[in-house]
Point group: C2
Chain length 237, copies 2
């Protein structure tokens, strides 16, 4: 199994960043990316809380936007307690880790107060929702503990049996998010030029739905090149 | 399924007590007991960290010793990363919650720095060890999140199917820890009187082993009364 990358989106408290790093270390993960940390970077509170996981903090990569952080990722999972009216599969933690397989995957955690925006969710293939009691409120560190623990349970079992998880559905040759980003840039420009979005106020919602539709299909990189070609061919006549 | 009681033994940081309460609330538990909290009680840091779980903090019961906190408990599980040379079953979190069934059970978490003593472990039937990467260091709040999450997964499944978990091995009529404490008090006095412990320095270890041997059998309350009778009968002649 390929270890997922952890991406924290606009995290607010350094303590939570450190606690996530600690959970990562405890469950065998090392690759941390942070998008637009509120208090800048480096962050002393994050290092202090990380304790034995400080090397993960030191090696963390910082990005300005989520698409940049996702560039080389094939499958992205967002952990959120509140699935909006977005057409995405909703998975339990154990289901999500079971389908990661050998794809290059990322686990996304949103900012403490506000959670992930629809724009953030637009970049994700699936939503992970942790089963809880009513009125629960897991902070990002607690959510990370649960999801990474499920990953560790599965991957250590897979290692000890020396076999690929048979239920994995993710593909090794899946298109990366950078491939998708290029495709979406091209598509959006063509759609704008063709006056596809007739009512400007409705464009954001419509465009999210279009992107979701493509992301959901989980194309291989070859398929995405074919889609590029189709868009080009259609728009050139 | 009967919800387990959470027992924190000599916790040091109020923040950790609050974080455990929060995990309890998120995963449907409410009964918190605390043995000899380092910073006394009430504890402002615990309340602040608990947030929506403050009612659990306010309802927490404080005890001076672990046997007092365990008085009405039938089966006790200690969560520790470092099983010592103690003859106890070692379970994964999912295994431990599966055997709780309708017994009155308790989940024990030790102090942050030093962990549980052999004396503490002597009161437990089984040890729960969370699978982790090497050199892991889960704090008590993280450990609680994992174990309580497993409990919630199982109990919400059991509720939705409206059936008792079939793999449960714990008994409703199991002796409580208070029953055991009385029995041990009687037994120890008789053994002392009979010069059973020939070398005083070896008594603590020997006595732990004797207690473990009895606890492991998980007697019913009726069986424990029978044992009482046996000890009395043997020592009276």
């Amino acid at each position: 199994m390929n270890a997922p990358v952890i991406i924290l989106i606009r995290p607010q408290l350094g303590e939570n960043i450190g606690a996530v790093a600690r959970a990562m270390s405890n469950f065998g993960l090392s690759s941390l990316r942070i998008v637009a940390p509120r208090d800048g970077w480096p962050n002393e509170a994050a290092e202090a809380m990380a304790a034995h996981a400080a090397p993960i903090i030191h090696a963390a990569r910082i990005f300005e936007t989520l698409p940049e952080a996702l560039a080389d990722i094939q499958v992205a999972y967002a952990t959120t307690a509140r699935p909006r009216e977005v057409e995405k599969p909703v998975l339990a933690p154990s289901e999500a880790v079971a389908e990661m397989g050998n794809a290059k995957s990322a686990l996304l955690f949103g900012p403490e107060r506000t959670g992930l925006t629809n724009e953030d969710l637009g970049w994700c293939h699936s939503i992970i929702t942790i089963p809880t009691a009513e009125n629960a409120s897991l902070n990002i560190a607690q959510s990370a503990v649960v999801v990474l623990y499920e990953w560790w349970k599965l991957s250590s079992r897979a290692q000890s049996r020396d076999l690929k998880d048979p239920s994995s559905t993710a593909q090794d040759n899946g298109a990366t998010m950078q491939d998708y980003a290029h495709f979406f840039d091209q598509l959006e420009a063509k759609l704008d030029a063709g006056h596809f979005f007739k009512v400007p106020e409705k464009k954001p919602g419509m465009w999210l739905n279009v992107k979701n539709m493509f992301l959901r299909a989980r194309h291989t990189d070859q398929e995405l090149r074919t889609l590029h070609g189709i868009v080009r061919a259609l728009s050139e006549k």
